[in-house]
């Protein structure tokens, strides 16, 4: 009996020991690092981290398609398709949300409206993250302020789109924690005025601190880009003096000039030094490239606007067929304006019977069609869904860089700001300030390149020029709303000519219902929705 107790004691002692040893050894047993991911803390230790975070903001331009979107397909819907420049296109019933927008009957539950909202706030969040980490970054003041300037330039661009699309929106200038997201501060709309003030303060900083073209990497935000964007912002604010000064500074800087051949602006490659990516006219454009996993281009930007066979057949088409230039736009071009054929791919409506060839194995069902700059031949109308497509969104599958067969992210570099826009901003600001001479000079620079005669600047002449010069460049809807504020009735007239009925409340898109739901109703809807 005694023996048994002793034995039990020994066992209990042994167990106690095992327990103690295990415990001691396992004190840090539960501290497990995330596998294959870099933590926020590690980022803070990396001297290049803040710089990489700024690069990361630019990367946000690649989002889009049917997901959150900044400058891709859904932004195109809300700017071109919404305007009198373009119709939805594709097959008549494809993409009901886009059709709503085309018909100025957008509902608050429209998915496009929500995706563009969330996409832009992704951009804002990336900028805020970079700005947050830049505060403690160990760079010299010039480098650091230049990086801050880039982040603030991009943030201003995102907010400029937001305020033009939705009016006042929540103003996020820091990094709210998820737990703070529910605060009124973040869940209610700032006024449009406050948003514009914020944009101006970001751009003031960018103008003051960004290096200019030539002093920084091609593709990064520059001082001139910030000045141009701010000039445009002031045009919307009807502060013509500021708009004039800033655009004049870019013009006087002499770093930019018009590309000689209008159609070459949207090519990847220059022809005899003229045009191509990052050409002499380009102030800010989204950069793209070819990497191994085909992730370095704007998702679906080109393919969504590509010519579509639709229910017709006989060829492998180039895209979904959205964003078709309207007859209203076609009619806007003066005779001899080279920009018409630089902007629009016209589908040949005549059917013919060419001889068989490798490109065209089925003669009899196609005509000579439309041959594009790279030699690609689109069949004639009987094999194509729509009759007009955007040439500016076209990216050659043969003559320009491609990522294998993956056409979702073709490396099309979207031109966000170009010199012709700056000239026209300058012209309009000058005109409004009574300086007709400067306005006329600017205007005729643009017209001459288009192969047109000189005219004297008037407001309608400048606005006409803006329309044809910047057609299908995602500016028209905003511009029309802006012009309507200057000269009421313009939008109604333009939409009437386009066969649609304008209403004042269509100037702003609805706040996405999803976002209103998420704010528990604190985000208030725009009138008319």
């Amino acid at each position: 009996m005694k023996n048994i107790y002793q034995k039990q004691l020994t066992i209990i002692a042994a167990c106690a020991m095992v327990l103690t040893v295990t415990l001691a050894a396992c004190k840090r047993y539960l501290d497990v690092s995330p596998q294959g991911q870099i933590t926020q803390d590690q980022i803070a230790l990396d001297p290049n981290a803040a710089k990489n975070l700024v690069t990361g903001i630019y990367n946000v331009f690649y989002i889009g398609g049917f997901d959150p979107d900044i400058d891709s397909f859904q932004f195109v819907i809300m700017t071109d398709i919404a305007s009198d420049d373009a119709d939805k296109g594709s097959s008549p019933n494809d993409y009901g949300d886009a059709l709503q927008i085309d018909n100025l009957q957008t509902s608050a539950s429209n998915g496009v409206v929500n995706n563009v909202w969330t996409g832009h706030y992704q951009g804002v969040a990336r900028a805020n993250q970079a700005l947050d980490k830049l505060q403690n970054a160990q760079f010299d003041a010039v480098t650091k302020n230049a990086l801050i300037g880039e982040a603030r330039f991009l943030r201003a661009y995102f907010y400029f789109n937001l305020v033009r699309l939705y009016g006042g929106v929540p103003l996020i200038d820091a990094l709210p924690l998820a737990s703070e997201a529910n605060q009124d501060k973040y869940q209610t709309r700032a006024t449009a005025d406050d948003i514009y003030k914020f944009i101006v303060s970001d751009l003031d900083f960018a103008v003051a601190n960004l290096p200019d073209k030539g002093a920084t990497d091609v593709g990064r935000a520059t001082k001139s880009a910030a000045q141009s964007l701010e000039a445009k912002v002031y045009l919307y604010l009807k502060n013509y003096q500021k708009a004039y000064e800033l655009s004049q500074a870019v013009i006087a800087g002499g770093k930019y000039s018009l590309v000689k051949d209008y159609s070459l602006i949207w090519r990847q490659n220059a022809v005899n030094g003229d045009g191509g990516n990052n050409n002499s006219e380009s102030l800010f454009e989204i950069q793209a490239g070819i990497n191994k996993d085909c992730s370095a281009g704007i998702n679906l930007y080109t393919v969504s606007q590509g010519p579509r066979a639709g229910g017709k057949y006989g060829w492998s088409d180039l895209g979904f067929g959205f964003n078709n230039p309207t007859s209203s736009l076609v009619n806007e071009y003066e005779a001899g304006d080279v920009r018409k054929n630089g902007t629009i791919i016209f589908i040949n409506s005549t059917n013919g019977t060419p001889p068989p060839s490798t490109i065209n194995p089925n003669p009899g069902t196609t005509s000579s069609g439309t041959v594009l700059f790279d030699g690609f031949r689109i069949p004639s109308q009987d094999s194509v869904q729509n009759s007009r497509y955007s040439y500016k969104a076209y990216h050659s599958r043969t003559a320009e860089a491609n990522c294998g067969g993956n056409t979702d992210r073709l490396p099309k570099q979207v031109r966000i700001l170009r010199y012709a826009d700056v000239l026209l901003i300058n012209a309009e600001a000058a005109f409004q300030l009574g300086n007709i001479g400067v306005a006329t000079t600017d205007l005729n620079l643009v017209r001459t390149r288009a192969g047109l005669q000189n005219v004297t600047a008037t407001l309608p002449a400048i606005w006409h020029e803006r329309r044809v010069e910047l057609a299908m460049e995602h500016d028209r809807f905003f511009d029309l709303v802006r012009q309507d504020a200057v000269q009421p009735g313009r939008a109604a007239a333009a939409f009437a000519a386009h066969g649609k009925t304008w209403k004042a409340t269509a100037a702003l898109f609805p706040i996405p219902q999803t976002q209103i739901d998420l704010s528990n109703g604190r985000l208030k809807q725009n009138p008319g929705y």
Partner: protein, 1000 residues
Amino acid sequence: MRKLFTNLFGAVLLLLLFINASFAQQIIKGKLTDASSGETLIGVSVLVKGTTTGTQTDVNGTFSITAPANATLVFTYVGYNTEQVAVGNQTTIDVKLVLAATQLAQVVVVGYGTQRRRDVTGAVASVNGDQLAKQPVQTPTQALQGKVAGVQVLSSGQPNSAPILRIRGTGSVLGGANPLYVVDGVLTDDIRNINNSDILTLDVLKDASAAIYGVRGANGVVIITTKKGKNGPAVVSYDANVGYREVANQIKLADRGQYVAYLNDANPGRIAADDKAPLTIPGSTDWAKAVSRTAFTTNHNISVAGGSERNTYFLSANYLDDQGVIKTNGFQRFTFRANNDVNITNKLKFSEQLSLSRGAEQAVNIGGIYGNVYRAAPIIASVDGNGKYGNTSAWGNVGNPLLQLDKANNFTLNNRIQGNVALDYKPVSSLTLHSAFNTDIRYNNQKNYLYQFNADGNTFTVGGGNQRQANSSLFVQNDDSYQYTWDNTITFDKTFGQHHLTVLGGIVTEKGKSNFLNGTRQDVPANKDQWFLSLGNPDVASISNNGGGLFTRQSFVGRINYGYAGKYLLSGSLRRDGSSKFSERYGNFYTVGAGWVISEESFLKDSNIFDQLKLRASYGKLGNDNIDQSLFIVTATSNVPYYFNNGQLNLGSVIQDIKNTNLKWETTDQLDIGLDFAFLNNRLTGEADYYNKKVQNALTLVTLPGILGDPDNRYVTNAASYSNKGVEFALRWNDKISDKLTYYVGANISYNKNNVIGLNGGQTLFAGGANSRTITRTDNGQPIGSYYVLQATGVFQTQAEAAAAPTNTFEANKIGGLKYADINSDGRIDANDRVYAGSYQPKYYGGFNLGLSYNNVDLSADFTGNWGNKIYNGKKNIRGSSNDNIESAYANSRFTTANPSNTNPNVITESTPPSTYFIESGAYLRLNNLTLGYTIPAVLLKRANISRLRVYVTSQNLFILKRYSGSSPELFNTNILESGIDATNYPVTRTLAFGVNLQF
């Protein structure tokens, strides 16, 4: 001491003498055997009724006792029905004891130990392995359907898909609502590697007794114990079945005539313009038929079991081949098992349980393919006589689903080693030291090849459209994981007089690690032997190895069970769990339970009404940490590309995922009150339970406002609390009418009420649907995933009526269109007019089981069903384009001027918003299994040395009674928030199989 003993002995002797003087005594001998197997029963208690005179059977099952002629002998043995025999003038009484049908006599596995069922204070259900093995299904959980009260099983017809199990309702949205599985000590979430024939018992911990598994016990625990050998000669068993499966209840889709008529309304002018050969065909294509087949299924199992006093063994091998009813789909599995026990000394035992499995799965993209089957135009050929496919996408429709099937080859090999080695040391009989090292190692290899094809005349009858694969591509993934659990426990078990005490203490250490590497290349040759990445185009390649998982857990377990006189039971357990998945590492989980065996009380003991009556109650706190690791750590995405200087790659980084850095596990408080009973000599047994489960700090994927810039606009946090309250009943009647005829009838029904108690500052969850129109809403006071849609009130009968109705912001009102209720009376039909319209979670579910055995024939039927739930017919609602096909029944009943229906609209388009029109009843009753067997009489087999031979025919899912118009109301959807939306389910199958059980 010695003096006292002598006195007592003397008194007893005196008493015996006295008794002896009263009656004529005789010696009675006999042997006790098992009524069914004939096995001798050792240690059966033999008692002269009303006295303390008794003995036990010896190793040969024999006994000898002295009793008077007017006495009655009572034979009792754990797990068997008690028999009483009047002595009369017999001197030899051989008794065959019948195994108690009641589960009350069983031993149940409760986690880190076992208990006699009569001592259990929690709600624990047990199912014998043979009940599971008799059904021609891959996993034991599929066979559990309708068998256990409080356990809802949803399984898919897709080979190698893991069934969804809900124990007492849905208790989690993100944390995973499936129970924890414990297979011979291995904690896992996947038991598809287990051969059903290897299972001895399956125990389900339904209540807070699962707290012994702490932070993983909140959804209940299913404990699977595999077979071991028994002392005796080798028993060789061979079980096999061969059968076929087919699609059950395929919904008929519109044929050419119906489709053409529909399209003339949905897309006017289309037919007239484009319905021309060679794009279209004059007849109709049955797309469901085109992609499906009658599938072959087979299962072979062989096992050898036996052993000696020193060691026992159980060895088995199994081959399962389960073809899918969708062409090319299928799964094959080999499993091997070796379970050995070795008694090294009387005090030291070594044991191991080891399972190897290798599965080969040929997967199909069922969401895409079966979704397209419902939408593909019937006027396009599937494939013509020359092997050219019909071009549905050129028609402006979905891709050709048959082509999708044929142009992809997705093959995965799964290898898995699972098992444990354990040492048990018993220094004294009351103390057991147990150390077990359990491990689970997996290695998977996947190759997914997509064949190149163009949208031209080589592939299709007519070129065009957008269905093409411009370049072939090969995706290869290798992933591996290992997980170990090291259990160290001490168990003290002793009876002191009327007191019985069991104390358990232990430490459990756990670690898991997983990793994967995958790569993709294009232009790999189409020859199967050349499906290696190196053979592809190196310029179009990607490799991914972006992190695996690593988690650790450390736990301390303790449990005390105390019983007094078999009447009063108390138990308590505590587990302190640490998990690396959370910043707050440790939590305590516990349970307390009490039981009162009323039938043992003197006022009932002799009443002969109850064989057993037990009242029990338990309360405890459990946890759920079933989420991805490091969800609480803010991480950066590095190497995001951007280009500067005309083509110079720059790699940036992004911090964008919003995280809750204070993430915690979910906690569940559960109360259970239950009653176990057995009447009429254990012929009628049953149990009833009431439970109340409350989940707090529930992890949920909260949709974030867009302003935070999170890429998917959501994050994981502890926001919600849910409750599940319910009642369960199980009843079973079994009887023996004669030696030849026995039968049983069992039934169980469960009522569960699921409710979101509060979102506690979190956001309402919307889910499901297309075109950003959600179908479900999870919000305060409603069941999880409730439908929240417009209320359809009929169909516009005239254009004037449509014009006068409130403005519809989704689609224009027109004759034949659906009418909706303007709930907020603002003159507009929009998202603010949505109403709650039920949920997928059934109010009642259960099953009933019948069995009959007459002579050598046995028949059994298992029914399962539920009632009180709703289904959203997403196949009808979610449209890709106006050229999509429709169901035949809808085609016949839709509004037309000739048939002015007031329920079915003229057309359903992409713009048609989610509404109550698409919501249908989910009630059903299904014959899950019907088996008819015949056992060849033993006399005929003796010469062949066969001890048992049974042949049978069995059918799974023979028929269903349902109200739902879709093919099946049982939806297999792992997304809890969308679980009731019927959109892309694998077709439900019906199996007919023939089998044999052979034993040597």
